[in-house]
Symmetry: C2
Subunit: 207 residues, 2 copies
């Protein structure tokens, strides 16, 4: 992996998990020491994150972690409802046998995760969404949905301790994947949209 | 404007209009001389363009203008159909009086453009689309659609001399804006989708 890609992944993780809090100042030197990377890869990573609206660059003032606003939340989810729905429809047409096998493996993993292991549950949710994105076989869409998912994940971390039981939400992926497997794009679309809307409601209730 | 933003706009223009041909090598030094800008803003601009898939960075080999593939064209348009449709629906709900006045001015401008002035027609098409994006009042969506539009514009430049009459296509925006003005999201969605599909067909026929 390129060093800037490594820096990007590590810093993004810190921002999404709120280890780097919204609005906090980003200290390049600290990141260089902590991640053991040079100035160039760190800076490239920060530019990329700025481009994804996770970092704000203020000329002559420095860099900050982007804030999370309620307005953003609503705009993010209204868009995800449409795009994840469209993605599910494409997935039902284009998924490969290999991808379906991967989905089965993930859903099996889900059955064995304890209901209070939030981190593991969220990890499976992420892998299920991202697998569905890949199934769409549309790189433009995959790229957009991956980014929007990262933003949503950050909101999830913000409300983590107040979300309550998320296991049942994540189990909704079982129905989505069954519909995709059956080639039933309409049902897959409806179910993933319900999943996004319900999850958004959980986050709104927890804020 | 920041220097890197200026470099970004100028280089993007060169790529979209095919002055920089697909797959050609990008020469940083030449760009620095031609644009009268330093290495840092040029490099920042190129990273941003790489992030938007208009430039390809190959470690230890250099930078290239991204290729244009037929597969990309199909994937780009299938996504734009969905997103522009969704955008039109939001626009019908959220547009401001000021934006509607701007739309009227643009449509008046369109009436006075000669049918064989492709450059002026395309410029109005771009401003009409981008105005509709702004009307959606969803920054995530605006950002995505602006990028997808740029990619489409590059395809249009590729087929420019074989597209035939595009005036009637662009006049389809009149109906879209009327529906948006009337708050009729369903009609606006249907009309903008027809516009995208028809334009895609023109480009496919011309390739």
């Amino acid at each position: 992996m390129k060093l800037s890609e490594k820096a990007y992944q590590l810093i993004k993780e810190k921002i999404i998990t709120l280890e780097l809090r919204p609005l906090s100042v980003i200290n390049e030197r600290e990141l260089m020491e902590e991640l053991g990377l040079g100035r160039t890869p760190i800076r490239e990573a920060l530019y990329k994150l700025a481009h994804e609206d996770l970092v704000i660059i203020v000329p002559r003032r420095g860099m900050f972690v982007a804030d999370i606003s309620i307005t953003d939340l609503l705009k993010l989810f209204e868009l995800r409802v449409v795009l994840e729905g469209f993605c599910a429809r494409l997935a039902a047409e284009r998924r490969t046998e290999e991808q379906l096998a991967e989905a089965d493996a993930l859903l099996n993993e889900l059955r064995n995760v304890s209901g209070d292991d939030y981190k593991a549950l969220m990890d499976i949710d992420e892998r299920l969404h991202k697998l569905m994105y890949e199934m769409s076989d549309n790189e433009f869409l995959i790229d957009i949905l991956n980014r929007l998912y990262d933003h949503s994940l950050r909101l999830w971390y913000l409300t983590l301790d107040r979300l309550g039981n998320v296991r049942s939400s994540i189990e909704e992926h079982i129905g989505v994947m069954e519909a995709i497997k059956a080639g039933d794009g309409e049902t897959a679309e409806k179910l993933i949209q319900q999943h996004i809307i319900e999850f958004q409601q959980k986050i709104k209730d927890a804020i």
